[in-house]
């Protein structure tokens, strides 16, 4: 940040004996311009810190405030001190790395030891509140309100608020999780159907926004003296009492009507009845290594995990091998001075590398479309490319070949041109055939030069989410486990577990993330070791 200080011309100060303790020279700044830039940048840092601190102060988030103060102090110390020179260059990147990578990664790893997921989001109290709230039945003789759904702040993330109007008295209320609060009729606007259309401080949701928040809305209720207010659809709400209530004496949920009880199971975070049936709402608990052991011991999970692991390796290694083979072949063929138009070939062959990848994956997906796709029309066939495992894998690898071989072509050309021709010439003088010289001299040298690249390409493709998600989406799916497609790799599977339609299982997804991390890290470290690419860091 404050490193842009000394940019000025060659007006270098004459050699100095010793920098003074204070003043201009003290921190290594040697010119007035540099000092001014430095002061300006540090002032900006201070400005940003104040801007960041104000909302924290208003919200009374003391931990966050302490972090902001500490980081600012650290920055000032590092850039004003004459020592700590390496830190001056490392701190900006390190800060970003810690905040946006290391902290989220550690958090993810910690969720791998919980059952965090759709039915297990919050605390036990949250679960009890949700169970009581959803069991509400209308209290006889209470009004049925006209409802308008709203949020506090952003429509996608803000807290849900019910804006209610009593059709008999025309009074309007704002219902939050704290309770009902009457709205002054002058502040709000009510539509012809009695719905509140505008209220200060609240964002009224349209149908699209409301359906996006359907899940939050279904869990929401406004507590009242006699029970709670629940919505019925998107424009009606009623006041009711919960049928089910928590009883602390038996640590269980009791149903007032049927008398059934569900006892808390604190190791699984669920309320379970005598038959072992659990209520849908649970809470987050630590499950230790269960997510990890499940992956290895659960029959279906293990089967799909192993199947995907094999294809994941096949996909990553296959991609590297075929792109490298074709790239090398084309590089060898075109690497000849007599060949006219080499530049044109090169410029056009590498065009795919410069195209937007996401869009081109989608174009390929649509070229493979059964009904409208170009390939079926050109070939005169009606193949459902993503219908069988083999054809789907073929399609994916073909797309990978198209996207990747031009890159390999570029690096192979570069490497070929840097391998000394003396070696191959010497071999030929000794009577070796060109193919023999290639096999024994050029190719091994090429492999040595490109090994780090091939490893990096493998590591990248091992987690190449877009290549699967945008092309086949994991299809075809086996009937017995519709969560794990036959062309899914671990990372797309993880994504489906965490965000897919069948309910989020963040804990399990995080456990698989940790597996992926370990696999890639171990393979990369081993192979970098073998190729001695890490030696230079000593």
């Amino acid at each position: 940040m404050a490193k842009s200080e000394v940019r000025e011309k060659a007006t270098l100060t004459p050699p100095e004996k010793k920098p003074p303790r204070f003043g201009m020279e003290a921190d290594g700044t040697s010119s007035p311009a540099g000092l001014i830039i430095k002061i300006a940048v540090l002032a900006m840092v201070l400005g940003i810190a104040v801007w960041a601190a104000l909302p924290l102060l208003a919200d009374q988030r003391w931990v966050g405030l302490a972090i902001v103060v500490l980081v600012t102090a650290l920055l000032f110390y590092i850039y004003l001190s004459p020592r700590r020179v390496p830190a001056k260059y490392l701190i900006p990147g390190t800060l970003f790395l810690i905040v946006f990578q290391i902290v989220p990664v550690l958090y993810t790893m910690s969720t791998a030891f919980t059952n965090f997921g759709d039915a297990h989001r919050g605390s036990k109290q949250d679960a009890i509140a949700a169970i009581e709230g959803t069991s509400v039945q209308q209290v006889p003789g209470t009004p049925e309100y006209v409802l308008s759904l709203a949020t506090k702040g952003d429509p996608t993330t803000g807290d849900i608020v019910f804006l209610l109007t009593d059709p008999a008295t025309k009074q309007s209320f704002a219902g939050t999780s704290e309770g009902l609060e009457e709205l002054a009729a002058d502040d709000i606007q009510v539509g012809p159907d009695g719905k509140v259309v505008e209220a200060p401080g609240y964002t009224v949701l349209n149908i699209g926004q409301a359906s996006a928040r359907a899940e939050d809305i279904s869990q929401f209720s406004v507590p009242t003296d006699r029970g709670a207010i629940k919505n019925q659809g998107l424009s009606r709400a009623f006041e009711g009492t919960p049928l089910r209530a928590y009883d602390a004496s038996c640590d269980c949920i009791k149903d007032a009507e049927s008398g059934q009880t569900w006892t808390a199971d604190d190791s699984n975070g669920l309320f379970v009845d005598s038959k072992g049936e659990a209520l849908a709402q649970g809470w987050k608990v630590n499950v230790g290594f269960r997510n990890f052991t499940d992956v290895l011991s659960d029959q279906t999970l293990r089967a799909s995990f192993l199947k995907m692991l094999v294809w994941n390796f096949g996909f990553a290694i296959g991609t590297v091998v075929i792109t490298f083979a074709l790239g090398l072949l084309v590089a060898l063929v075109l690497n000849k001075e007599e060949l006219k138009g080499r530049r044109i070939y090169r410029s056009l062959i590498i065009l795919p590398y410069a195209m937007p990848v996401v869009a081109m994956y989608l174009v390929w997906r649509d070229m493979f479309n059964t009904d409208f796709g170009l390939l079926n029309r050109l070939l005169g066939t009606h193949i459902n490319w993503f219908g069988t495992t083999a054809s789907a894998m073929f399609a994916i690898l073909l797309v990978q070949l198209w996207l990747g071989y031009n890159y390999m072509f570029l690096v192979c050309t570069g490497a070929l041109q840097s391998i000394s021709a003396d070696l191959t010439e010497a071999a030929q003088v000794d009577g070796a055939k060109p193919s023999y010289a290639f096999r024994t001299i050029t190719f091994p040298l090429l492999l040595v030069a490109l090994a780090p690249l091939l490893i990096a390409s493998f590591a990248f493709n091992f987690n190449n989410f877009n290549a699967i998600y945008l092309v086949s989406q994991g299809a075809p799916f086996p009937p017995d486990n519709p969560q794990a497609g036959n062309t899914d790799i671990l990372i797309t599977y993880t994504y489906r577990l965490a965000f897919g339609g069948a309910g989020a299982q963040y804990g399990l997804a995080a456990a698989i993330s940790v597996f992926i991390f370990l696999i890639v890290a171990v393979i990369s470290i081993l192979s970098f070791r073998r190729t001695h690419a890490l030696e230079e860091i000593n």
Binding site: F100, V333, Q417
Partner: protein, 316 residues
């Protein structure tokens, strides 16, 4: 023989090479398949044949995109490989969507992300290359290791984190390019830092030493001597950073849900995720426009790219 190649033909950039690669500095022709005697076809003709085949493979999906973009019907089912018409209707339709806004967002994100991460990465590479300090080896190794945990696996954590940030500081929260930019900067210290450190290492330390004797500070050495010398590598790394940010899809699709905040990749995906057949022409037109800046930069920087890539950057 090799002396006959004009410098622009040799694809090798200025002799900045990653360390450990043993090369001599003059480019050479290497492999001779087949004999230099014989007919034209045996000597170079077959090479043209292979070249043309490779070319056809590379070009045909792009040709299809061009053809679909110009196709007046604008549907997937009516798009042929060879353009059947030349209508700009798809482009007009495209500009009726929020595409201009998406494109602008993409360019802001791409340029800012490339520039800032280049700066951060170059600074760190300078420190790793020129200073010896406690924790240097640990730092270099952890940079490599942290990158092995793909950032988007932590998406749940990032989502929760940015939900709080959106509450406290809306200008860097969800649905802003700046929030996404900050997030991408978490990956600024990564493979590129290694790549650049390698190139910094090839610059003789004597240069620094003599400048130091003349009274230059570390900052003057960095900005005045080292950076200008590695300018070609900076250009290539910047280009790769730009491509990476333009193509990032997953995190962007979760963070940018408001139409006006989307990047082109997210927006275009939205166009074909629902109306796959009907919007294909518009989608193809968008793809072409999105490709223009990258393709132009690519052709412009072509001379440097091979050297930059062989250093260890990866894509696709």
């Amino acid at each position: 023989m090799s002396e006959l190649i004009p410098p622009s033909e040799t694809m090798e950039p200025t002799p900045l090479r990653p360390p450990g690669e043993q090369v001599d500095d003059t480019p050479h022709d290497v492999v001779r398949l087949g004999s230099s005697q014989g007919g034209w076809f045996r000597r170079v003709g077959w090479r043209h044949l292979v070249g043309l085949l490779a070319l056809a493979f590379s070009i045909f999906p792009i040709l299809f995109v061009v053809s679909a973009a110009l196709n007046p019907l604008g549907t997937l089912s009516s798009s042929q490989l060879i353009p059947t018409g030349a209508s700009f209707e798809n482009f007009t339709k495209l500009f009726d969507t929020s595409f201009p806004r998406w494109f602008l967002n993409t360019m802001i994100l791409g340029i800012a992300s490339a520039a800032v991460s280049l700066f951060i990465s170059a600074c760190a590479a300078y420190a790793f290359s020129r200073f010896r300090f406690k924790g240097r080896r640990f730092g270099l190794l952890s940079i490599l290791l942290v990158q092995m945990f793909p950032q988007f696996l932590a998406i749940v954590a990032l989502y929760l984190m940015f939900a709080t940030i959106t509450d406290l500081w809306p200008p860097i929260g969800f649905n802003t390019v700046w929030g996404l930019l900050l997030l991408y900067m978490g990956g600024a210290l990564g493979v590129n830092t290694w790549l650049m450190k390698g190139f910094f290492d090839t610059i003789p330390k004597d240069l620094d030493e003599s400048a130091k004797v003349d009274g230059a500070t570390h900052a003057q050495i960095f900005f005045g001597i080292i950076l200008p010398l590695v300018a070609p590598i900076l250009a290539v790394t910047g280009l790769l950073g730009f491509i990476g940010a333009v193509n990032e899809f997953l995190i962007a699709s979760i963070f940018l849900t408001q139409d006006s905040a989307k990047t082109a990749a997210v927006g275009l995906y939205g166009l074909v995720s629902q109306e796959r057949n009907n919007n294909f022409g518009v989608f193809a037109a968008g793809t072409l426009i999105l490709a223009i800046p990258t393709v132009a930069l690519f052709q412009f920087l072509q001379r440097y790219i091979v050297g930059g890539l062989t250093g260890g950057a990866v894509k696709g």
